[in-house]
């Protein structure tokens, strides 16, 4: 067992983990931050995307000990300080960018990382960036639309709700 300490959503946390404990398990099982989801075993689906030191990371692909000392942000820390939805979260709700909600935390965290590096991405840039996030419900239409809307682009011309 190894001791790890990190900052998660601005809060200092620590715990004892096995060397093989994944960051996703540490967040879900030890910290009970169950918003980070695990949808595959091969780092493909992106339901577990969190930010580690500001970069989007698949939490199932990083050992908890590797995040020792890091700043980690999860979906539970994404809302505004007053509890209201962030711009991206609100855009997902406004544009029906989620259905079952399972991929949603990873989608939102990926979208947040994208908009940080590219504040007004094109449709093609969004689709390419989301290559590592699989959604089985929405057909991506409203996810792409929501991210464009969150970046301040006019999406009124894009078909349907």
């Amino acid at each position: 067992m190894a001791s790890v300490s990190m900052t998660v959503n601005g809060r200092e946390v620590s715990g004892d983990v096995e060397g093989r404990t994944l960051l996703s398990s540490f967040l879900r099982d030890d910290l009970r931050l169950t918003g980070t989801h695990v949808g595959c075993d091969t780092s493909q689906c992106g339901a577990c995307v969190v930010h580690v030191n500001g970069a989007a990371v698949k939490a199932c692909t990083m050992f908890a000990v590797e995040a020792d000392g890091a700043e980690v942000a999860t979906i539970e820390g994404e809302a505004n300080a007053d509890g209201s939805l962030s711009v991206i979260q609100q855009a997902f709700q406004d544009h029906h960018g989620l259905q079952c909600g399972f991929c949603t935390p990873g989608m939102v965290m990926s979208a947040a990382a994208l908009l940080k590096e590219n504040p007004t991405p094109t449709e093609a840039e969004i689709r390419e960036y989301l290559e590592g996030n699989i959604c089985r419900c929405t057909g991506y239409h409203n996810i792409v639309k929501a991210i464009m809307a969150a970046s301040g682009q006019d999406v009124a011309a894009i078909a349907a709700e």
Binding site: T34, G39, T42, Q44, Q99, G139, A159
Partner: protein, 788 residues
């Protein structure tokens, strides 16, 4: 001006807030004090005799609580099949025992051979590696036609063959159809494969079993679309637990698409083992386990013949299909290639004679069952593909050929035993031509050609049967359950309402759309109304969510229950207003006496029901809560027309979806935003089937697509923005909301247009390609082009 609440409005989904903030409560988020973890040792060969299982070394490993094998489940029932199909000779289908844990024989890769319950998951996994299996491998039965041949190895030694049933429909029409095909001016024949798929909801399955010694109560938390169905199947048929001692909870469920309808061995195991070890037992599927234990979908091999007269009127359709059942019969497996497939073979057309033959085959593969559309995509695909091929053979426009043969008068009794109540196929086709800008296609093709690409346009129609289903009818057809649904409308003293519904919401947005209906009926704000679902201890009963049935069946039950509530509330209001019941009107949350200015508010009436100081106690009981069960009088028949435009790169065979348009008739629409979202997702799954997805076995029955590294899921950059429309509305005539269902349409309607578009593109480039099997990967397309 669009409404902002009630029927026809698109309020934002209330469930989104918890999902967007990480506050969703999925089954894997449930952890119970003292819980153990199970790891299943699964077969890595397709077919073998189990000579012995030595668990002694594993049992001595650290953290092992108990190890179970098939012998521990000899005394419990097998996993049941919910539908008995009768074959064309009048005999019942062959129905093998489906054990919770393999006993004596392994019949597919992924079948559970042993289960290790441990203090931690890692300890259970480590111990499973120490289990010693002595197996004698047998030849695997994989190819369906080979499985049907005399002398084939049998998947089940105690059955007479690998044929589950040989079904003919309508058997009495067989000779007439043969004759019509002989007499036809033209017959178009097409042989095709409807590729095997895996539903792949993003949330893998999870089961947590609990047992309370204090009251002999079993609880199963599970990822299910229909908790009452699981309670019934597992309680009555597998474990012998009476229903009042078994609670099944399905909290937030991360997508289903059919694969979470079925009762699975892991659910029975966790429930059984929780009592045996007297601690909660949790199983969380890995994605690789999901690929080899979730029921698969589709997997039909079909020959279809379409006969026409000299004027291109359809005169007959004859099909022969091999449908894969896998190694065992999953819950609804037997109904999918029969009653959900043969009955839709008329499509949108007035073909007078139809004969469908289906041979359902046992193979050494994972069981196959319903996946989004279930039988209806298979029917639509073959029919809409053969019509496209016929149009090319006859040199006529494929849209014109369809139009010429449309059913135009309703109700319409098909020759395959169903009666379409309403529809307007011309209207959806005209709408499609508009939204897909079919008139502008030639210019877009010219532009693509300038860029060195081949462009194709593919169109198809579809019809489906939803709102499953009239119980007396399906009972005659072999269903072993009723297919009604139920709802309780509980009005609280202060006027807010909880509606307990049998339908389960796992992405469909019922928590938002169902209150819109109640709000419309009573005239109180939607935020005063909550939907409760997914827990057998909280809801009256329910057959669950599948077959696009939630609103058409459970929504109808909810309306009926609300009507009872309103009738009773009117009696209370009449008493308070000193008027006659018949004169009371309810509008915008106010009861008033017709023709007067006397009124009383909803909240005053509901308060009177629970504080009955001034109340007609001699006539009616206090309280305001009503339950209704609704059994539909017929199926509903959503229909529409879809168009796909593709570009094909002639150098690589890569297909790109450039445009996708869908014009649907779902009858009345409660929440247009949600309906569009359902269509979008269905289209993505249909395009996935057409271009990307394939569940593949090798000849030894080894599953070679068991992760997202090998099974190509559609991603954002595989798909365009879609154009969808559901303004053509012919309301269903037999349910109170006039709704038809929209959940499966996209997945049913989209694959043929993608294939039709690719064929169109290749033919425009001078390639004489008439068919490519799905998924149309670059290599398949390139090969077809270069062999043409």
């Amino acid at each position: 001006m669009p409404k902002d609440s009630g029927i026809g409005a698109s309020p934002k989904r209330r469930e989104d807030v918890r999902f967007l903030t990480g506050a969703g409560k999925y089954t894997d988020d449930i952890n119970i004090y003292g819980q153990t973890y199970v790891h299943f040792l699964r077969a890595d060969v397709a077919h073998a005799t189990i000579n012995s299982i030595d668990t002694s070394a594993a049992a001595a490993m650290p953290g092992v609580v108990q190890i179970f094998t098939g012998a521990d489940f000899e005394a419990v029932g097998g996993i049941p099949c919910g539908w008995q199909v009768t074959d064309r000779f009048g005999e019942p289908m062959q129905e093998p025992r489906h054990p919770v844990i393999a006993h004596g024989t392994i019949r597919h890769v992924g079948e559970i051979v042993a289960a290790v319950v441990g203090e931690t998951l890692a300890q259970a996994r480590d111990a499973a590696e120490a289990i010693v299996l002595d197996l004698t491998e047998k030849p695997a039965v994989v190819d369906m036609k080979a499985a049907a041949a005399d002398g084939s190895t049998k998947v089940h030694d105690d059955l007479t063959s690998n044929i589950c049933y040989d079904w003919g429909f309508v058997e009495e029409n067989r000779d007439a159809v043969d004759q019509a095909i002989k007499d036809a001016a033209h017959v178009t024949t097409l042989e095709l494969v409807n590729n095997r798929l895996v539903a792949n909801p993003m949330e893998p399955r999870v089961a947590v079993g609990e047992y309370s010694r204090s009251d002999d109560m079993h609880t199963l938390h599970t990822t299910s679309q229909n908790p009452h169905v699981i309670r019934l199947l597992m309680g009555a048929f597998v474990l012998g637990i009476p229903e009042h001692k078994l609670r099944v909870v399905a909290p937030d469920v991360g997508g289903g698409f059919g694969t979470k309808i079925f009762h699975y061995a892991e659910e029975a195991f966790c429930t059984f083992a929780a009592k045996a070890v007297n601690r909660p037992v949790k199983w969380t599927s890995t994605r690789s386990e999901a690929f080899m234990s979730d029921a698969h979908g589709r997997d039909h091999v079909t020959k279809i013949e379409l006969a026409m007269d000299a004027d291109n009127n359809f005169t007959a359709v004859r099909t022969e299909t091999y449908a894969n059942m896998g190694a065992y019969l999953s819950t609804f497996a037997s109904s999918v290639p029969t009653w959900l497939h043969g009955t839709l073979m008329a499509g949108n057309y007035k073909t007078p004679l139809i004969y469908v033959n289906v041979k359902a085959m046992f193979t050494n593969t994972v069981p196959v069952d319903a996946y989004r559309g279930a039988g209806r995509p298979e029917a639509t695909f073959q029919l809409e593909r053969v019509i496209d091929k016929a149009a090319r053979e006859r040199g006529v426009d494929p849209i014109a050929l369809r139009r010429q043969n449309f059913v135009t008068e309703f109700p319409y009794a098909t020759p395959v035993a169903v009666e379409y109540d309403t529809g307007d196929y011309e209207a959806t086709m005209a709408k499609l031509e508009e939204i897909a800008d079919i008139g502008g296609f030639a210019a877009r093709r010219a532009e693509s050609e300038k860029n060195g690409k081949l462009r194709g346009l593919g169109v198809n129609c579809y019809i489906e049967a939803c709102g499953i289903a009239p119980s007396n009818l399906v009972g005659q057809l072999g269903a072993r359950a009723g297919l009604y649904d139920a709802a309780t409308v509980r009005v609280n003293a202060t006027g807010s309402i909880s509606v307990m519904v049998g339908a389960h919401s796992h992405g469909q947005g019922h928590e938002t759309s169902f209150p819109q209906v109640i709000s419309e009926m009573i005239g109180i704000p939607e935020d005063q109304i909550d939907i409760v679902h997914g827990d057998t201890s909280k809801i009256p009963f329910g057959m669950g969510t599948y077959g696009s049935r939630s609103l058409a069946v459970c929504g109808s039950a909810m309306v009926r229950a609300a009507e009872k509530v309103i009738n009773k509330a009117k009696k209370i209001a009449a008493h308070l207003l000193e008027a006659s019941d018949a004169d009371i009107e309810l509008k915008d949350g106010q009861f008033s006496v017709a023709g007067t200015d006397k009124s009383v508010a909803w909240g005053d009436v509901t308060l009177a029901a629970y504080v009955p100081h001034n109340y007609p106690l001699e006539d009616i009981e206090p309280g305001l809560e009503e339950t209704a069960f609704y059994d539909p009088a017929n199926f509903t028949y959503p229909a529409g027309a879809y168009a796909c435009e593709v570009e094909v790169d002639p150098d690589t065979g890569k297909v790109t979806i450039e445009r996708f348009s869908a014009a649907d008739d779902f009858g009345n629409v409660i929440n247009p935003m949600i309906v569009s979202g359902q269509v979008h997702g269905g289209i993505a799954q249909g395009v996935g089937q057409a271009l990307l997805e394939n569940c593949a076995y090798d000849e030894d029955g080894q599953l070679i697509s068991a992760s997202y590294m090998d099974y190509a899921m559609p991603r954002a950059d595989d798909l365009p923005f879609y154009s969808v429309d559901h303004s053509c509305q012919t309301p269903c005539t037999h349910n109170p909301l006039g709704v038809k269902g929209c959940g499966e349409a996209g997945a049913i309607g989209s694959p043929p247009s993608v294939v039709n578009a690719v064929i169109d593109a290749l033919q425009s480039g001078g390639k004489n390609v008439t068919h490519i099997d799905m998924p149309m990967s670059p290599s398949r397309v390139w090969e077809a082009m270069n062999n043409a």
